[in-house]
């Protein structure tokens, strides 16, 4: 394969630039933004893309301004932020567990957040904000439990995945129990929440997500170097000067926070965290966790899936989680067939 690395040197400072990876990140970013504009223009009251852009710049007519700024923009922003958080969280978890299946949905974080949300829905019939708070608490507690249970003189990747699967099964049973104990109205609400939906999200969800990602994303990216070293194994990276356990704990906390807050805002949207890092890696063709590319991929994926969920089923609008679930399954199948043709598995 042709190398795409370029060295950039200015004075005494030099960095290696992976041109392909940077191009992919930029293209994904453009794709996510274009999809967002299209999504804002989509709905019972269609708005042409040019008008959407004009309105976003503050020069639209009052009717369009209300629809764009109050109804559709927050939903799209939540979609972008949730997708970005899930993509980044997934990439972190897959790198930490050194397993392409080590995504938060497999490790039980999604189920943990669901348990928190279900408890609020079923036991108290609480408001949307209380449900989100419950989900956040559930996700954080589950993340902590997995880390503590997998701890044994350090957290080994494989043990993390296995303990996660165990925790996930227990929490799934609790969720099933809560569902059977609820009345049918609460159960219907719970199932929509469990599928993951962006319906009716407004500015109140945007701000906390934005604040959290604004803090966590730079923090994560600053530690990306250590994570990249850790893919060579704990001993090697320790010898190279990475404080393995500290970096791992820090990144895991960040990943849990990202995933839990995203889940609190939109429900456990399946498969974005699993597939975004894999797709990003295939596009950049570069080793390492591909954090930034995964983040952009997650955002683009979720917004596109939301557009599909609004358009593909006629008048009946399905939650975005249905689309990501089906797309994720199809993607995995495609992966299976293509890898097999290439003789890799």
């Amino acid at each position: 394969m042709r190398t795409t690395n370029r060295a950039v040197r200015t004075g005494g400072f030099s960095i290696r630039l992976d041109v392909r990876a940077v191009t992919v990140v930029l293209l994904l970013l453009v794709a996510a933004l274009v999809a967002s504009v299209v999504l804002i223009g989509t709905g019972d009251f269609p708005i042409p893309a040019a008008d959407v852009l004009r309105t976003l710049a503050g020069e639209g007519n009052p009717g369009q301004e209300f629809i764009v700024n109050e109804l559709r923009l927050p939903r799209v922003l939540v979609g972008l932020l949730v997708g970005a958080s899930l993509g980044l969280g997934g990439a972190l978890f897959q790198a930490i567990s050194r397993n392409p299946l080590g995504s938060p949905d497999v490790l039980g974080l999604g189920q943990g957040a669901t348990a928190g949300a279900l408890a609020v829905i079923v036991l108290t019939s609480g408001s949307a904000n209380q449900v989100a708070a419950g989900a956040l608490v559930g996700g954080l507690v589950t993340g902590l439990a997995i880390y503590v249970l997998a701890w044994k003189r350090g957290v080994h990747g494989y043990r993390l995945v296995l303990v996660g699967i165990g925790v996930s099964a227990i929490v799934t049973a609790v969720n099933g129990f809560l569902l059977t104990k609820s009345d049918i109205v609460d159960a219907a609400r719970a199932v929509v929440w469990m599928t993951g939906s962006l319906d009716g999200r407004d500015w109140a969800q945007v701000w906390p997500l934005l604040a959290l990602t604004a803090v966590l994303v730079p923090l994560v990216l600053a530690n990306a170097r250590g994570l990249r070293m850790m893919e060579m194994g704990d001993d090697v990276s320790y010898a190279l000067g990475v404080r393995v356990e500290r970096v791992r704990l820090l990144l895991m906390v960040a990943a849990v926070l990202l995933t839990a807050s995203a889940t609190a805002a939109a429900g456990p949207v399946s498969f974005v965290a699993l597939t975004a890092p894999q797709l990003a890696r295939r596009l950049t063709r570069s080793p390492g966790p591909n954090l930034l590319a995964s983040l952009c991929m997650g955002a683009a994926l979720l917004v596109v899936a939301d557009w599909v969920s609004q358009r593909a089923f006629g008048a009946e609008q399905l939650p975005v989680g249905v689309v990501t679930g089906v797309l994720g399954g199809v993607y995995l199948l495609w992966l299976l067939v293509s890898e097999r043709r290439a003789g890799r598995i």
Binding site: H156, L162, A169, I170, A173, V174, A187, T324, L332
Partner: protein, 347 residues
Amino acid sequence: MLVESPPEPSAETAPAPPSRRAVRAFGLLLSVAVLVLVALASIAIGAKELTFGQVWHGLFEDSGTYGDVVVAERVSRTLLGLLAGAALGLAGAVLQALTRNPLADPGLLGINAGASAAVVTAITYFGVTSLSGYVWFAFFGAAAVGALVWFLGGSRGATPVRLALAGTAISAALYGYLQAVMIMDEAALGKMRFWTVGSLSSATNSTITQVLPFLLAGTLLALALARPLNAMAMGDDTAKALGADLNRTRALSMLAATVLCGAATAACGPIVFVGLMVPHVVRSFTGPDLRWILPYAAILSPVLLLGADVLGRIVARPSELQVGIVTAILGGPVFIFLVRRRRTAQL
């Protein structure tokens, strides 16, 4: 992974301690005794407390009293627990040997998802409402997904990773469908939320007769596969050198596992963890020989399933906790303990 046991001391060289074979055979008898006790407990314990005399009367001198009716119902339930438990345990052991993956269980190969998707289809699009009506749909769904996973996994060239990946992928797509249907059809949700947790409480004699032939055939097939699967545990090349027919063994194992899980899931809904956990526990004292693992799993899995069922009836009196919930809540911690105890290299 499976590790070869140290060579067995033959009877001639080590006469003093009882041979390993005798110990294992005795253990098997002991397990049967435990199973009988648990089965009796499952008949005696429940919302309506029965004395031993009443149980005896119901079992052998049935004259239609209230106690006798309760006993008859609990006997069906216990029978289903015995059959389904044995099926899940055997299927789990076969799948773990087939995929050489200690985490393989019916969920991994998409069998639960197939059965669930078929049941929700039956409820929503075919108007099936009775539990005995679900059975055929669930079984068909499980079998169809089993076959699909087999072909997508590469049929004649199937490897453990491919099978697992195919199973995960198909499950994902089917669960998306399942959720979509449940969101659009509230009546289906109302039924599915009870079906998906897995329960023995719906057992009737007609359900049992529906699935019995499949369970028996699957059990016999699974037990017959012990030898070739033993050979496969040593790796494909060694197995080939030992004369095992890899493709045939894989196809038959897949068939046995699908029939067993499909029938068990059809009768009681998806029950997780029994098939995953019991073979692990069994392996820890029998070693890697499937000729012992399979019979032990077939006897100890119903012990777990019935025990969990009885526990579910005790803790939530006068109502009850579904057995699928109890097995996961009991099994989860045991599973985590096993994961923590082992050196990770072994997994």
